[in-house]
Symmetry: C2
Subunit: 96 residues, 2 copies
């Protein structure tokens, strides 16, 4: 069982993860990525899919042409957990 992050831990994680925002209603990390076109956006999605599958933790996400919107939250924890922060870090490390 994964624990939900404390408010302090969440604030620390958000300070570290520059490009991500906190969606308080969903208790989730959210970020939107823009690319040159659909091909570039889907290439990024494929890399994120591989990261997610490896981590055993998957995003709620959507795509419209060159835009990919990612929402990270942990169902088992009922909100944001360290798993989300880890996955956000790994996605950022792709350098998209």
């Amino acid at each position: 069982m994964v624990e939900k992050l404390s408010t302090a831990a969440r604030q620390e994680a958000l300070a570290e993860l520059g490009g991500w925002s906190y969606d308080a209603d969903a208790d989730a990390l959210v970020r939107e990525y823009k690319f040159r076109d659909f091909s570039a956006a889907f290439a990024f999605m494929t890399r994120v899919a591989l990261l997610a599958e490896k981590a055993g933790h998957h995003p709620d996400w959507s795509n419209v042409y060159n835009t990919v919107s990612i929402r990270l939250s942990t169902h088992d924890a009922g909100g944001l957990s360290e798993k989300d922060v880890d996955l956000a870090r790994r996605i950022d490390a792709l350098g998209a």
Copy 2:
């Protein structure tokens, strides 16, 4: 410039496309697909991405673990067009 489908053409297309519904607010075709797991869902998304790129027409879509939700509409036409019906047919032809 692609033309928006007439009401009659839309109704005919919907009768043919068994699994798709019509979202009147968005003037779009919508369908949800369920898979065994994330890996199977993303494999399907990859095939749809290739179809979409080949067609030069892309879905608005989202994914949560084993569920893929697809919305087809044509921005240039201001709603549903033959391009959407064609892409829906091709997606169904994947036999997912």
